[in-house]
Amino acid sequence: MTPIGQAPPRKLLVVDDDSTIRTLLFTALHGQYDVLCVPNGTEAPGFIASHDPDLLLLDINIPGSDCYALCEGIREQAARRNLPIIFMTVCEDAAGFFDSLATGVNSYIKKPFEMPRLKKRIESKLKPRPSA
């Protein structure tokens, strides 16, 4: 529960098919953020609609899920045109990231990554809270 007068933690949605990575990200980030996890791109739109996350951490290599289409779908919604998306990848082809810019991905981080780097990246991409 958020103490009175204190802003609630920002919500992150992790989309990754690897349960170990989901557990790692949840454990490492949940003290600082409200972390939600889904295992595939199919469930993600429903979670985004119902929980309205502040940032999306998206593994782009999920078998059976078209994550580029997911990004495009998110960007088509007026309310989520500016939702920060960080794309996680094991791919050697970083050029893929620059292609994905067209679908609205804001940043990418290559796996394996170290947690301080990921936290720094999340902080740099989260939009400042609107002033009261």
Binding site: L24, V90, P112, E114, P116
Partner: protein
């Protein structure tokens, strides 16, 4: 195709067989036809055998590549968990020096494993002739920030000061292959860190002159003896140092860098002096020559 050619010869031979049955002797042209048939069959057999063996080779090569990619993918995901956990505990235990030391050691070993894996990927790309620069207009500063972020952890662990110097008038964009550029700089910086003792420094300087970007990776390390410099960018060439156990390499890193720089139409050079450090400089044009002229 093979069967069809033989069928044509068989049909062509039928009148001669009929003639033989009628007259009791083979006409002279029948012999020539038979020789033609045998020769064509032999040549076709050789071509078909060569084609089937080549197709098998390509299929095996393709399978090997797919297997390599799957292994690399499956190694990186667990490594993300291990490195993520170690770095998270390390960050959360600032007051436990012994534990910190042990965690840093484990994390450093993971980074070394990843560097080895990257070398294997590079080798596979070279062997499959995939070292082609897929150039795009890139946001240079963003890319440099990524690369330096990736190397700061290793520099901190080794106690080496990592510095950067970016010319203020540097253009914002560069026409290059993002992944190749990342691998070139990462290889050069890690190499410089490997040969620099704690307390030393490694610096990356970038400037832009006459349409070319110039990258300098300079270290204050052990340097390279003059006799090795000429062969430094050759495949599998390694400079054996005094401390071979900790400084061994695959001999592919600098070879890869040379090929990757050349794939961009650039050049790579080294200047070094024993015990005074090394500077590796490479330059790549902002735009490819053909694009510049169009």
């Amino acid at each position: 195709m093979f069967a069809a050619v033989w069928l044509v010869y068989l049909l062509a031979a039928l009148p001669f067989v009929a003639d033989r049955l009628k007259t009791g002797a083979w006409p002279a042209s029948a012999l020539s036809l038979a020789v033609d048939a045998v020769m064509s069959g032999a040549i076709l057999s050789v071509i078909l055998l060569w084609r089937s063996s080549r197709e098998r080779e390509l299929r095996i090569d393709g399978l090997r590549k797919t297997l390599n990619e799957a292994i690399i993918h499956d190694l990186k995901n667990p490594m993300t968990s291990i490195m993520g956990c170690l770095s998270c505990i390390l960050q959360d235990s600032p007051d436990a020096p012994r534990e910190r030391k042990l965690l840093e050691l484990a994390l450093h070993s993971c980074r070394s494993q990843m560097a080895l894996l990257e070398t294997l990927v590079d080798t596979s790309r070279i062997e499959h002739g995939e070292l082609i620069a897929r150039k795009k207009l890139l946001p240079l500063r963003e890319l440099l920030a990524e690369i330096l972020d990736d190397t700061r952890g290793a520099a901190a662990h080794l106690g080496v000061n990592l510095k950067e110097s970016i010319a203020p008038d540097l253009p914002d964009t560069l026409y290059a292959d993002a992944e190749l550029l990342r691998r070139i700089l990462s290889n050069l910086i890690h190499n410089a860190l490997k040969y620099t003792s704690a307390g030393g420094s490694v610096s990356l300087a970038i400037d832009f002159h006459d349409g070319d970007f110039r990258f300098d990776v300079k270290d204050t390390g052990i340097g390279i003896p003059a006799q090795h410099i000429r062969k430094l960018f050759e495949k599998y060439y390694r400079v054996e140092g005094s401390d071979q156990s900790t400084r061994r390499g695959s001999g592919l890193g600098l070879y890869f860098c040379r090929l990757a720089v050349e794939a961009h139409g650039g050049k790579i050079n080294v200047s070094s002096k024993t015990d005074s450090g090394t500077t590796i400089t490479f330059s790549i044009p902002r735009f490819s020559r053909e694009e510049h002229s169009s």
